[in-house]
């Protein structure tokens, strides 16, 4: 199986709004429909959040997908290092957002896709960048279609 060239971290909000098929966040739904043309990392913090946002049965289905299509979705069970979390907190991220950024950096991910406005405004000029689902869709349309 061919691994897609781009590897992004999708923030929990993208998963949640995408799975809800929320009209107010239609770009999240569209982006999820394009997984496979890029691959996704799910770090421990996002897994824990999804575990609270979804039911046990829904998480089982989710893990089934992860296990069947590892070329599209990769799960990382590694905790983020405290040093990296502090680094991103020091750059204005809230602790939870800092954990996500730390996971991304430790996994060699350069791009986080998130609708979290504060995250988008805070994480600028750093090693990891944040873009919205809409921006991610625009990027994909330029590179793929």
């Amino acid at each position: 199986m061919t691994t897609p060239p781009e590897r992004w971290l999708l923030d929990t909000n993208v998963w949640v709004f995408g799975l809800r098929r929320d009209d107010a966040f239609s770009a999240c739904t569209q982006l999820m429909d394009h997984i496979g043309s890029f691959s996704v990392l799910i770090p421990l913090q996002v897994l824990k959040e999804l575990n609270l946002a979804l039911t046990e049965d829904e998480m089982r289905d989710f893990y089934r997908l992860v296990n069947r299509y590892p070329e599209f979705i990769e799960v990382s069970w590694q905790p983020a290092s405290i040093e990296l979390v502090k680094f991103y907190e020091g750059h204005g991220c809230r602790k939870g957002d800092a954990v996500i950024a730390a996971h991304a950096e430790a996994s060699g991910i350069r791009t986080i896709v998130s609708e979290n406005r504060q995250f988008l405004q805070t994480l600028t000029d750093l090693r990891v960048k944040v873009m919205t689902a809409d921006e991610a869709e625009t990027h994909l349309s330029k590179t793929l279609f």
Binding site: M1, T2, T12, L19, R21, A24, L65, V85, V99
Partner: protein, 77 residues
């Protein structure tokens, strides 16, 4: 509808590179179907709970709450 054998014959007539593209596409479509099924399950559950029409602000508040709760637990101040 073509039989499986007919389809297999069509596929084996393709170049190896075309076969790989086809296999990748089939995997992607299967993955998408699984994701769609999961979304339908989530939406059905939310509808049952009366939460499908929740305002985005409510969803955001819950997402922020669980994010900070988990982070504070894993990385206590």
């Amino acid at each position: 509808m073509q039989s499986i054998d007919d389809l297999a014959n069509v596929i084996t007539d393709l170049d190896p590179s075309e076969q790989q593209v086809l296999l990748d596409r089939v995997a992607q479509l299967n993955f998408q179907k699984g994701l769609h099924d999961l979304a339908e399950k989530v939406r059905a559950r939310l509808a049952h709970e009366g939460a499908l029409g929740a305002q985005p602000e409510q969803v955001w508040a819950e997402l922020h709450r669980i994010r900070e709760q988990i982070a504070e637990h894993d990385y206590p101040t």
